[in-house]
Symmetry: C2
Subunit: 433 residues, 2 copies
């Protein structure tokens, strides 16, 4: 039996490693079109900033590691140009064919700049691969640019803005929609704006960039541009092989991460998953989901019967030391999904004042019809990750607000206030329902 | 309609305030036998240590605040000596009677030192009230003792040891049972021991103290003693009035916090609650539970229909900067409750190494028969509170390990590793099941 995995980053390598653990005899080949594997894409902004010193630190494992320790044949520079499921093989750019019995697609996503004229100029960068990050950092060191524009106010865009500002540049973020961080939430966006502006980064929403001129984007003068927009799943290879693409534009999968062709699995940034709050397909590409779906795809490709139930859309981003975390749906998103959203938003201390507690803002969103929690956000210098994770766990379990309000959370002055901000928000929400 | 609340600390005042919010016309009287109300008992060790400078900071609200802002008649120095439910009144030590239609018992607990000979000596203290803390701090300042013994390795005992050590004393903790922090878990106790000893505090388990000699407890020389053992719910008043006491020795309540006598509620450290993991009555007195049960008792005493489902036994204690958090049952406790416990314990980083992550230890305990999580512990310098709260939320929802393993938790390098330690522990536990 031969397993071929297309893609050697988070999802692909999780799949390969997990398949090996399930089946010691399986022949496993990983085909990666790039030159490096197993890098932490979420770490790239921290390399640009210099917090990660060497590009080598971005790589978690080497092809040699996989070859020796896991008996997995990882081939870099191996670009797959077509899949023939009837023949059960893939064809590489070199013309060589590789046979498979099971196939895992972990083809990832790309930053598609084709809609932006002038994106090919030498001072314009994306921040998607290790190469991108190395080129950007070298440009910063060699050319010493002073003004940057970041196109796109998603996670990477905002983190890039933070990194560029810390490197001493003046930075403007241009976001096409009215809101940042993929969250339709004006107050959340306002909190992000305040944090950015307090640290010298300008945020302009509602600005669609069609062209990058020599020293200018929209009307903002700049000498370096980072494009963090046009994120698209790499589905062409799959689509040409007859694999169904779902309503989100990513590869459709079932809860075994199997695609519409039996024996072909998909995982990571190229794949659609179920959103557990809406019950509908969603495309929210994140490293955590790539790892999890890769594991499940790999286990099942190796004969297992594992299940990936879905995601609730949890994420956090650090902006100049403040955590901005969201999970589930905002009020606007819940309304668009057919819920009758009711929300409460509170400010509270993360610890007693005499223990140096800071402020945190918690919003909870429930469906008025069922009283189920459907989303939330947490902003704070400390505790934001832990608190958003509690809300995420509640979304997984479809908790109602009255149950959430009674959660038995840990309290001790060095760690939290006697009434946790989550519970204060739940009490407020109970009044609104 | 008249509501009388016996007890003016966490549960009693939560009940009174909540009743007022439900019913603006209710006559509300709070009878507190002591001289101060509304103090944070969990903060007392931090007052002893000096982190809280003034005793006044321990009080959250004054009787005047309640009188003026809430129209609640809070009487201090008002000790209730008996309850007559047929007459619907309580009798004070002064002989005066106070009529009630509804009664909330928030009589708290006490530190019963009667089993220890010599506990009345001037260098022996408990740490249960503001007075206790003020007396202990004054003793430390005036007598400058150099060696302390803490009797009891529960939360307050360990926090007192931390506070005394920070004040420059040599400290030995003597615990009667084999384990500390009410957790039957030898490895958890060992981790506490290591942390204590690294900071110069000696821990001896299995030492039952029957007597305190002049300058010595057991064979440990000392010039100050803190007794943090013999914690007992104050149920005598209730029992004499014919109110049922439950199997734990605390006042029995239903999920409305009503006692066996209709119209009389109990909340806080004097009351039993349901343990949601075992489904059985439990007595785990903590400030968070006092606040929650007080709210529910107050709402229902004022004509509401609120429910307190129960607790899962979550707590955290800080020992020299390290968080020790537990929830649900340990392996030994789960076995004693009739489960077939299976556990996994892992060590992981709280953040990527290049982001300064520290170590954390996570243990998850599941029932092998149902695969449900039944408990867990988290030890770490950061993130312990947030992570134990996620496990607590899972216990509330009766999550199975395979569901917990797929939780969509937040990830970003400044906050967490791509595989959260909770998920690594769940993956390990899946292998053990």
């Amino acid at each position: 039996m031969a397993l071929v995995v297309i893609g050697g980053v988070a999802a692909g390598l999780s799949a390969a490693a997990r398949a090996r653990r399930r089946d010691a005899a399986l022949e496993i080949v990983v085909l990666e079109k790039g030159t490096v594997i197993s890098y932490g894409a979420c770490s790239l902004p921290y390399f640009v900033e210099g917090r990660i010193r060497e590009a080598g630190q971005l790589m978690v494992y080497s092809p040699e590691y996989f070859r020796k320790e896991r008996r997995i044949d990882v081939r870099t520079g191996a670009q797959v140009v077509s899949i023939s499921h009837p023949r059960r093989d893939v064809t590489l750019a070199s013309g060589a064919r590789v046979h498979y019995d099971r196939l895992v697609l972990a083809t990832g996503a790309r930053c598609d700049t084709s809609g932006i004229a002038g994106a090919g100029q030498p001072h314009v960068f994306t921040l998607h691969t290790v190469d991108d990050a190395v080129r950007l950092r070298r440009f910063l060191e060699e050319k010493r640019p002073r003004r940057a524009v970041v196109i796109g106010g998603g996670y990477i865009g905002v983190e890039a803005a933070d990194a560029l500002r810390r490197s001493g540049l003046r930075v403007t973020v241009l976001e096409r929609s009215a809101n940042v961080l993929r969250r339709e939430d004006a107050r959340f966006t306002e909190a992000v704006r305040i944090q950015l502006e307090e640290h010298g980064v300008e945020l302009r929403c509602g600005v669609e960039v069609k062209a990058i001129e020599g020293g200018r984007v929209a009307d903002v003068a700049c000498d370096v541009v980072v494009v963090s927009a046009g994120f698209k799943p790499n589905v062409e290879l799959a689509a040409e092989a007859g694999i169904a693409v779902g309503p989100t534009g990513a590869i459709r999968t079932d809860d075994r991460m199997e695609t519409s062709l039996r024996g072909i699995y998909a995982a990571g940034d190229c794949a659609e998953v179920t959103h557990l709050v809406t019950g509908r397909p969603a495309y929210i590409p994140l490293g955590t989901t790539a790892n999890k779906t890769g594991r499940v795809a790999g286990a099942n490709a190796a004969g297992g019967r594992e299940r990936f139930p879905g995601i609730v859309g949890t994420s956090i981003v650090g902006i100049f030391g403040m955590g901005f975390a969201t999970t589930g749906l905002s009020v606007a998103q819940a309304r668009a999904e057919g819920f009758r959203p009711v929300a409460a938003r509170i400010q509270a201390k993360t610890r007693p004042a005499w223990f140096g507690g800071g402020n945190t803002t918690v919003e909870l969103v429930a469906d008025g019809a069922t009283r189920r929690l459907v989303g939330g956000s947490v902003i704070g210098e400390e505790g934001a990750a832990g608190r958003i994770d509690v809300i995420a766990a509640a979304l997984h379990s479809r908790l109602r607000v009255e149950d959430f309000e009674q959660l038995d959370l840990a309290y001790s002055p060095p760690f939290s206030p006697a009434w946790d901000p989550l519970l204060i928000a739940a009490q407020q929400l109970m009044k609104e329902l």
